[in-house]
Symmetry: D2
Subunit: 345 residues, 4 copies
């Protein structure tokens, strides 16, 4: 039974780690850390966890890298941008296993980080110590595991077969992504006020979303001629879920059946990515509450355009679930340990 | 590993049984039965279940009591009103274990059944063969386990300490219950059309809800002078959850601290009922996705009125979860086997 | 054409005044005032108002009582608690017409104000200069018109026939009110974050809501023996609308048909209150976007309990609409001038 | 005061006509017709309209073209596909003014109609008697006014400046449209059940939506080289509103400022289309309840891609509002008569 510490327990990703790890057969949470409410019982902050015996005695502790390394086998960062960059040094130097759900170590290039996150990249020399782990494609080689962003995960899983097998015109890709509100975090702002979100849709951070560079970086590893990606994100009035519509023109001499075959070839042996057949397209309900990514596609002969629809749960596959999947890989557990979830209605 | 058959797999309760039993350590689904789509793979009907290896090969079969008794240790009815009444005879005669989520055997009195369900009670002689099992209070004595209704569960868990310890004026009880739409089932009607439900609240079946008699019957076992209950139900635009506000005047010489003590005394040793202290009141999010019932209370000195707020998930504690809890009791499993769930955001 | 100034233009009530007065035949907005964004075009703050020629040139001005009295015939306060108390002095002294949507002048008794609003009552001597105007019952006699609260309006319109005609047992009244989120204002807090509100219901300010004393005060004018009211408020995940369930036991020798007759007698000549017959109960959709209050009722012979369901739009009848109705009375306009609205789906 | 008859009063478009025409200064509804509930008071079907004196006496009548032409100056069809095709003959032969909100006369080519509507085109010879009236561009020349579809309106208003001024690469256009549920009508189906829609997003009729041909036809009138359009539609969990994201690559030597200028040049003198500046993008709340279409745009230098976001209310601008706008043109009323609406929160 591996022992886990979690830093940043009060956000949505932290809570989701608690939910999922509660039933993990091979790992358990031993300590939780936060910057606020330290010294408080976790169940005071999340009263809905009371009476879960596993969590009944956890106290939110102030950060201590030494304590974490003494009591745990792995630490998860479920923190806002900038925190892991600041606190991870000791773990990296000690080669202590880290799963980082934040964006701090997703970009190896400090200039790229500074441009997209609008923060200075402290400890730029440590960035190469992190592996960017799209869990269905990558296995950890180092001890610092950087978990992809939620939009990036959906977009990359959509594009992988198309780039890897060179099936599309690379300058024709359009990604129109929609997300539920939990993807925007717990911050209070006009844009998260119920009345403003309910019965509304809005596009935000157009061409400026911080997940764009990690998508582009990964695409370049799959296709040397990958171009910048056209990517938009809209907020829809649901709590959980990412729904991505992707459009691209097929490359010459590529048929729709080639595309379908490529998706099956890429994903049929991957447990957590499911390809729908027969032009069927997935909806959010198929995946909410689970670590699955469902992908469906259709082709328009008149416009020579492929449409791919991809759905995942931003807090599971897009955050805590994929983090556990990466941890499972690291420790050699079954890939779906703790993640054998049925979608909730 | 006990083997389970489920009849009526296509409704919300049937699907919820699939979700919850998927992770049960001591029981597994071996066969599923339905009236429509027989011969079809379950994953054709619920495509979101594809790739769950446990369910990948289940085919929806036409009902056969003999086959069920040969292949299974217990059968669940997750059927609309009237089906279990028709199909249960063989099981009862053979003393074969049944967990019935429908209302067919909740009322022992055939006249009462006919009045509230507006159906004739076939096999009236078999009604006494069923135990009405409010799982946190009752243990199965016979093999036919009748699972309480969702509203009835919330209302009874609210009222139990008050009736058992004679703490309130019995003619003063008002129960104002609100439910999410899954409680109304999958039937298509104007009242389940999205546009009519969204941004709306409506009260329905006032004084006529079929859960009223099972509530009254149970209350009479707790207090011989129990009176008819004033009970209303409203639909609110959420998918899951029951939120019950109950009002009552305290009996003479009863103080609020007596009431709080009674709730703790009644529930502190019951895993699935959680009493909140300090006048705190629960919201739906505390329990959605789980088998917990959370109860909070407050007292108004000026009006001598106690307010109790009770929440549960209508598909878990109000249906499939409590059914599994009852099965766990029957087979002597841990009470929370398969039900060790953390609320989903 | 009467000229209107509005103070506190940026809140929900201020915006709703803009929406409704836009089509008023006898009155028009000439100036708007605010504490923030002064000097800014109104359409900068509410971009959705751009191109409405009537509002295109309005600039948010800093408060000036002199300017308001020189340019306008009436001023509306659509301000948070405490502002009107501070700024209204000049208007009162000059007997200048004011419609105050806030709670500052609803309670004549300064001690009562301080207890329920937890603010000190400045200018306590001026409180009696205000008329509390439940628009369907009261006509303005003085120039300071205090508009009832949204919950208070729904509750008082529910109880009026019962108290005025002495039809119920006064100690048996239970009011269970639910409101959409706009009723809680634009403030950012965890309790208005989309993720916390959506798919949730929560009760708040139980026995402590500041609308309780204005309800009690009015009830006492209708029935000398009126007792403190048992009143609860819950938030439901909709933008607009108040849904109130009220329960009471009938007084001796009172029949349900007496009750129905009393409602019709009270309201059949009131344009904005509609009584439903035949035990039908209203839902929110009947009134959203309008100034109507719809009331339905049913009686339970077994529990001797009357249930009354009342719905209104908290921003129209519960705020801006009733304020305009009061202004219409004051100036002798048609009661429904500017308020002849059809419910929006 | 022109007199209006409405056929098909019980759908969402019919009800919206009632809402909007209630305040029209120059026209009034005199008769309403339906296929069901004939002989019934309109207020029985829509109880929320009771006490609106204008509508209090309207009875739903069985269709009679003679009666309509004798009592009215214009008739509106707010009927499902196929009805107007069947019933319009008499009106067309008599040159009696018709505003048809359905799709029956939008396509002049009977083969195209049969392909996309999957119905046979009866009275194919009459199709050319209808004008397709995108109200912000077209004036009625004949008496049969065919109102564009909701998606078509949003898409065409988005693309007009780009096609008319030849600003984009015509093979690069991608339209990703999202609609609230009222756009799908009142039909009961699994896809309109609250539980299936709420907390969900789904794409439907991909490459098969019946609004595609009317879009393509109109585009060809704007640009002779217009190609088939790549167009997708998704359902989002809101009642009202269409949100369209459109992507296109700019033509050679066209700059983003050319594009912005073209939008202003096209729309600055059109009351009901509003162009946002400064890369701002509109959300649904700006337009819900109104006849406005709001359009914002931004350009990505890296991908050479223009993004345009367009929003409108599917029941107003997308149906009843544009129909009234067309009628206003026909009778020479002010364009915004009856349509001077402020967005509802």
């Amino acid at each position: 039974m591996k022992k886990i510490s979690i830093i940043g327990i009060s956000g949505y990703s932290g809570l989701e780690l608690l939910r999922l790890l509660h039933n993990h057969p091979d790992a358990e949470i031993v300590n939780v850390y936060g910057t606020s409410n330290t010294g408080t019982l976790l169940t005071e902050i999340f009263p809905k966890l009371i009476y879960l015996p596993k969590y009944a005695k956890l106290i939110i502790k102030p950060f201590s890298s030494q304590e974490i390394m003494q009591t745990s086998d792995v630490v998860f960062f479920a923190t806002p941008a900038g925190i892991a960059a600041e606190l991870a040094t000791d773990f990296i130097k000690a080669d202590f296993p880290v799963v980082d759900l934040s964006g701090d170590f997703r970009l190896q290039n400090p200039l790229q980080y500074e441009k997209w996150y609008q923060k200075s990249a402290i400890h730029a020399d440590l960035l190469p110590k992190a592996d960017y782990l799209l869990a269905d494609f990558d296995q950890p080689k180092q001890t610092y595991m950087s978990n992809p962003g939620c939009y990036a995960t959906a977009t990359l899983l959509t594009l992988a077969p198309l780039y890897l097998q060179n099936l599309i015109q690379l300058d024709s890709v359009i990604v129109d992504a929609k997300s539920g509100l939990s993807g925007a975090g717990k911050n209070l702002s006009d844009s998260s006020h119920f009345v403003n979100v309910n019965e509304n849709v809005s596009m935000y951070k157009l061409n400026q979303h911080q997940h764009i560079p990690e998508i582009s970086n990964k695409l370049k590893t799959w296709h040397e001629n990958a171009l910048p990606i056209q990517f938009s994100t809209s907020l829809i009035p649901v709590n959980r879920g990412i729904f991505v519509s992707t459009y691209a023109k097929l490359a010459e001499r590529v048929s729709f059946s080639d595309v379908v075959a490529a998706y099956h070839q890429t994903y049929d042996d991957k447990y957590f990515v499911r390809v729908l057949g027969d032009n069927r397209l997935p909806d959010l309900h198929r995946v909410v509450g689970t670590n699955f990514t469902d992908i469906g596609m259709s082709y328009n002969e008149l416009t020579h355009t492929l449409t791919v629809v991809t759905v995942l749960d931003n807090l599971v596959k897009g955050a805590a679930g994929q983090a556990i999947q990466n941890m499972n890989h690291f420790f050699g557990f079954a890939e779906n340990a703790g993640l054998d979830l049925v979608p909730i209605l």
